[in-house]
Symmetry: C2
Subunit: 478 residues, 2 copies
């Protein structure tokens, strides 16, 4: 029992220290390990399997909209990075530079891609000649590098995994539509698969991507009341096309610049899953993304027939669910703690008495509810319970967000709400960068987005009192 206690005790409670709780979960659920490369992480099998499921689901959704995958070089020559002014200003301070190849110094240094707009533009300038070549709907799965000073597993690391979509279109309208379309793909994925409600909206000028005309975002609320930007979609207009000379001959025989978009999601999503759904026993994974959905745990497994029955049930369930048997030497209690720590949505306990009664016990990870079920109905019941968990997790996360979204009608209310970190603060804003910066300086809260679903909460800016232009979600953010 000493060992079992250790596993559970090793997690700091989230109410006591949320940051430490997060670190404990990523370590104890064996999602990552720190590496000898400062600021970079090792993603372990349990973490990478979640990423594989995210990839599979997103990739399928991308392809349904006509997107094709490609692969671009990981290096960007300095002159290429500098081609678009805003873009280089945004990224140059945080890139890693390669200066030597083999034993020789390079004539021109190259950075490891922090994002690949410049490479795609360079490629599109060669590939696109005619309206017949449009649209180009390309995506790549890769890793990128940003030389961050402070790092945390999944949330901010010097190297992370992501996908970056880059499209080129004949018209501004089509580019705008694609930007919103992909934001919707992201939002649907988060809500349907990750059981994570998101607010869709537009970033302010200050917060938009370096080089973009407009940036759209989905913002999620973590358990501690902080916001997490979970996916972004950028409309570039023809800014990059002009900088890179990407032109095509249109149907009217005129030479025109293309309109472009880009959009990305990263391994940060795994951090979001942890912080939206986790509890003081560890990770809680939504069934649709869980690498293992069902863990069968035999009780008194040395008794004749128990392991055989467990294996029989695994075989039965394996055609519809991702299921494993824990037949290790550990005690059932230890196995329960592990299954809980790893966030496996369901465990099935099965022992000699259950077998005699032709039943098993389904235990939900999210509520710990125990459901005794006849083995004849196990297949159906497991499906129902998984669906129910997926549904309930979304509803709970949504209720949490609603409880933690407050309206601030004046500056005192705003300061108080932020100081207590109640969650999202909805407030009216004048649209000025100066006001936005002052709010950040005074409270550390940033504009998360101007939501598509605008509400009129008053006529004046919560900070300066000038006429309001938009309702904004504010919050402290990861």
């Amino acid at each position: 029992m000493a060992k079992e206690k250790k596993l559970v005790e090793a997690i700091t409670s989230m109410e006591e220290d949320f940051a430490q709780w997060y670190t404990d979960v990523v370590k104890k659920a064996e999602l990552v390990d720190y590496s000898s490369v400062k600021g970079c992480m090792v993603i372990k099998p349990a973490g990478y399997a979640i990423w594989e499921n995210i990839q599979k689901e997103l990739d399928r959704r991308f392809k349904e909209t006509g997107v094709e995958n490609v692969y671009m070089p990981m290096f960007i020559p300095e002159s290429l990075l500098q081609r678009e002014k805003d873009h280089v200003e945004g990224f140059a301070p945080e890139v890693a530079w390669v200066t030597h190849g083999g034993l020789n110094e390079l004539q021109e240094r190259m950075c490891v891609r922090p994002t690949s707009e410049t490479l795609f533009c360079d490629f599109y300038a060669r590939e696109i000649q005619s309206y017949r070549d449009l649209p180009k709907l390309y995506n790549q799965w890769c890793s990128v590098v940003r030389w961050e000073k402070e790092t945390r597993p999944f949330l901010r690391s010097r190297e992370f995994l992501w996908q970056e979509g880059h499209t080129a279109h004949a018209t501004a309208e089509e580019a705008k539509e694609r930007t919103i379309q992909m934001l919707n793909v992201y939002a649907d994925f988060c809500e349907e698969v990750l059981a994570m409600p998101v607010v869709k909206g537009q970033k302010t000028e200050k917060e938009k991507f370096a080089g973009a005309e407009a940036t759209y975002t989905i913002e999620a609320l973590m358990h501690d009341g902080k916001a997490l930007q979970s996916g972004t979609s950028h409309n570039f207009g023809d800014g990059f096309a002009k900088a890179f000379g990407i032109q095509f001959t249109d149907k009217d025989n005129k030479l025109k610049h293309v309109y472009q978009t880009s959009w990305g999601m990263t391994t940060r999503l795994i951090g979001a899953i942890i912080m939206v759904h986790g509890d003081n026993s560890g990770l809680v994974l939504p069934p649709r993304i869980a690498p293992t959905q069902v863990m069968i745990i035999p009780i008194m497994q040395k008794k004749e027939g128990v392991l055989e029955k467990a294996e029989e049930l695994r075989g039965l369930l394996a055609s519809n669910y991702r299921v494993k048997v824990d037949d290790s030497d550990k005690s059932p209690g230890w196995k329960f703690s592990e299954q809980e720590m790893r966030g496996i949505p369901i465990r099935i306990e099965i022992g000699p008495k259950d077998i005699e009664a032709n039943q098993g016990v389904i235990v939900r990870r999210d509520t710990r509810e125990k459901i005794v079920v006849s083995l004849d109905e196990l297949q159906t019941k497991v499906g129902e319970v998984l669906e129910q968990i997926q549904h309930d997790m979304f509803e709970r996360a949504k209720a949490h967000r609603e409880e933690h979204t407050v309206v601030a009608k004046n500056w005192d209310e705003f300061k108080e709400a932020i100081a207590e970190q109640r969650g999202f603060v909805k407030a009216m804003w004048c649209g000025c960068k100066e006001c936005e910066e002052a709010i950040k300086e005074e409270t550390t809260a940033t504009t998360r987005c101007m939501p598509f679903e605008q509400e009129n909460l008053g006529e004046t800016c919560v900070h300066c009192g000038k006429p309001a232009k938009a309702m904004v979600y504010f919050g402290k953010a990861y």
Copy 2:
């Protein structure tokens, strides 16, 4: 017709200039584009889709043997790379060095991984304490960088995509078994999926991986008689474990070093597919790896009902095969050329007269055979023809290899066979590095492998006349 002629004429014939033919195919089949980053390639959708299918098939086979995926950092601190003496000597001359992060010079420079043995060892040294932690069967899919001087798309580029498996075991026997097991996975994959026969064997001391105790390889023969190393599997013994201090407490309570393996396959395989199966009309893809297996090409598509019928057939076939309709404005002849250039295994021609007769014409890419088939039997027939193509492609490639594998009993025969580039040359060898180097210097042929299936072709070394130790496959290689 002028344009159609251009598409076909643009390929150099392989008999005239094989290297140029290869370059033409990768460009005209739209597999890659040259990038602005010297020595790196852009993998375009048609090329990347082949890689995705390779990944899917290999990944499934790996997981069936218990392998799990992880992700390691892309950077290796210089001190870590230097830990194993042979390894650093092998790789240091060809790595790219990162010296600056953001605006600051790094205290210690890091290379971009050329391979990740050192990172996995560093990780395993922390992860492995007890026999209970073994075996570790990890793999990662990523890109690696080697600063090559001469590059060719897929075959040799400064950055390429691959998978690298890294395992750790309690005993030398288990490591040896795993090395051979993965070589067999590679060989089966090449033969069953890529329709590419391979020779399995062991590399000589001179040709083995930097730091390995033994390297095993699968070698394939290209259409021009050159060999291509298509996958390798390395047994490290406990060499790396000793250099990195990877120790575990065994069941007998003694502290022991682990035994390790690594094994990899790369985007080079796409080059192999091109050079084993391609012809003077372009790419020929084995059905099991082809991103599109069937292209339906409507004839007189503006006539009523033709496009509808084509779409109906697509819908019918889509549940079992990867199928598309080419309903573009191009002429049927142009579409045929494109389908051939891209190596799509089957096209189905369907026009008004066919529809009237309730039939379609299946045309095989590999043999150009035309098969008239009733639309009622289309579903079944397409399956049969795809299987037949897969089978025939393997048999043709095997026959080609057998025709181009010659025995050299003496040095004159050897020199003649290599000079005429007849293919693999089987010969006896004394086992001395000096002899191996002399053979390479005099003929440019290298030892490809000492095949598992040894034959006794004589008692003396083909070069020096001393007693022979092994039968070796020699060849000029990519």
